[in-house]
Symmetry: C2
Subunit: 384 residues, 2 copies
């Protein structure tokens, strides 16, 4: 089921301990040489690659000499984590938009499929030292988005991040924490319990191998993963020059939606958000407005007379399961599987995929078609 | 100095008592028949004009029979007001953008030239029952805009309007109240003192003749005058479906700038503003951001190598006065008049016009050139 060989995975695991997140020179070597050859060259103490100074090369060799990828993979496994690489079925293809800055691989803690979850995800980011208002809005958006079947992605930090995660968890919803450290060694310490809960109910992911700790630069570069992974980024509160703004700017550069929650003009913690809103970002005050924007899926444009219907674009196996749902009301997975002539396990997997694409909804144990009007609107044409 | 004959002015004064503000049928008759013929037809009890029902025509005739335009003009004069008509030098030509909904004339209380003041004016509007935050922002914008030489236009109402006027007055600045009633009978009563101060320090204007009172419809139609008169409209606080939003929507339709001051997403008094900001309106948090937008004068684009300089577009008489100002520091009007080979009175009139176009500034009794950097920036290209 996977195109990633053991040696490739081992090499990439080693490289996550050698090459810093977002290092585009390292990313270029990886693309040009392949993971195995690059890891070999580094661990065998080979000659410096073009475009790298002697000191830096020596630093990389010394890191490579200490890399123990087998032990890291084992430690990750013990902590309930796996190492997902480009080429794996679970790899979220949208991260490839980062080019040579694409993560070497992602350490993933939690049961759900990162790829499926990321398809229908929104980032909520903002100030660590947020106001009560900021925390309220982050929690509200987190829970409202979760209730609507959206996955809430954030950075696990104090303030806005934590409130957004908690909001989603409180609604028994899906949330993903993207850490700037090993997924087995949560940071900040005060969020150990929160991050553990996220790993149980959702996903905790990161580029750094087990046990590794965050640095200021790693926090900043973590933001590009949040931006690239999600359909859009909502900034709740952010002062001028805040890290949350960098997430939004990367999201903009990657063609993702960017949104901001307004605050009082007199609040310095809203000043950065207001700057965004004076640019290309869209003002949002609740989850409905967020979904109105990010829910407009380019690849699934609303049906117009004479054009392809969205479901016509589905892979046959998916269309078969979709066709097995009743026109009204919900059906049990077993019944759906029978109609679609497949196994219940396969039917459930397809149903989750269809949900991530907005076609179906889960209600308790039953599944039903999403009402059409929820998918037909084009929010971009909304007039004020 | 004026193209408006006494009989035309008298006829228009009479019509302000007969035809309601913004009545486009009345405006069409006025355009097709002329003011004198229309007033004659109405006061002489002539046949109904096309497209008007018998009842409505009878109502108009009964109003016309009671019109006493000479007495109204005298009452206005006694209250320190004049009646400014299309064709008068003081008529603000931008009101013609209202088409057949253009005011028949404007009753004007106060010394300054309405035309000159309106050239460099911004509307600040919003909820009557605003929050403390809304009142604070309205007063702040009013005073900051006034300090920058901008004229603050509003509706004289409680809440945001009053705070904006007071902010401008407090900065010894220029402000215009556009009333939905006679300019001699201020409404609301509780603002009698404020409106009297505005008439002394600025301008109080309206479409209704002396003694006439406001109606809900007149409030709404007054908003089109505020929108049309100004370069742009700033909405400070407004609930959904508030009157201030109608001002902004008219401003948008007329191609004026529209702006909104953000508030907390949880405040129902900011909900209307946020709706605007999700459309074409620009988020502003201070006067600098307002001026950045409305100060970008299409007809006076920033100088670029090889293109026309803004001053090259000035009428020769204006350019002559502009050329008479020293490169640095201020000069007295008498000196400027001598250099420009004109009378001191003419020089002062030209200087005020040049100020309204952003070329010169007044400091006490002296006049000096505006520093170049204040005019060179193109705010539309500002990146977030």
């Amino acid at each position: 089921m996977t195109a990633v060989s053991d040696s490739e995975r081992l090499a990439r695991a080693a490289l996550t301990r050698v090459i810093e997140p977002g290092d585009e020179t390292g990313g270029r070597w990886l693309r040009e040489l392949g993971a195995v050859a690059l890891a070999d060259r580094l661990t065998s103490g080979g000659d410096a690659l073009p475009g790298v100074g002697a000191n830096r090369w020596a630093g990389l060799l010394s890191r490579a000499a200490r890399a123990r990828p087998k032990a890291d993979l084992a430690a990750a496994g013990a902590a309930g984590a796996r190492f997902v690489c480009p080429g794996d079925l679970e790899w979220p293809a949208q991260l490839d938009d980062l080019g040579d800055g694409r993560p070497i691989g992602l350490w993933v803690r939690g049961r759900p499929s990162l790829r499926i979850w990321a398809l229908r995800s929104v980032a909520i980011v903002g100030a660590r030292a947020c106001t009560e208002y900021g925390a309220h809005m982050a929690a509200l958006l987190g829970s409202q988005l979760a209730e609507r079947g959206w996955v809430v992605v954030s950075g696990g930090a104090y303030g806005v991040d934590g409130a957004a995660h908690r909001g989603a968890l409180g609604a028994s919803g899906a949330t993903v924490a993207v850490l700037a450290c090993g997924v087995d060694s949560p940071y900040p310490r005060g969020h150990t319990e929160l991050i553990t809960r996220i790993a149980e109910q959702g996903l905790v992911i990161g580029e750094l191998p087990p046990g590794d700790h965050p640095t200021p630069r790693r926090f900043v570069l973590r933001n590009r993963v949040i931006a690239a992974l999600t359909r859009g980024t909502v900034v709740v509160e952010a002062a001028h020059r805040s890290g949350a703004l960098s997430t939004a700017r990367i999201a903009q550069r990657l063609g993702r939606f960017t949104m901001g929650v307004p605050g009082q003009a007199t609040s310095s913690l809203s000043a950065g958000v207001h700057d965004l809103l004076r640019g290309e970002s869209v003002l949002v005050t609740d989850a409905a407005e967020v979904v109105e924007l990010v829910g407009d899926m380019g690849e699934l444009a609303p049906p117009r007379p004479g054009t392809t219907r969205p479901r016509d674009l589905l892979a046959p196996a998916l269309a078969q399961v979709l066709d097995a749902l009743p026109a009204r009301g919900a059906a049990a997975p077993d019944d759906i599987a029978r109609s679609a002539v497949t196994t219940p396990d396969d039917a459930v997997a397809r149903l989750y995929e269809l949900r991530s694409l907005g076609f179906v909804e889960r209600h308790g144990d039953g599944w039903q078609l999403t009402r059409q009007k929820d998918r037909g609107a084009n929010p971009a044409r909304r007039t004020p």
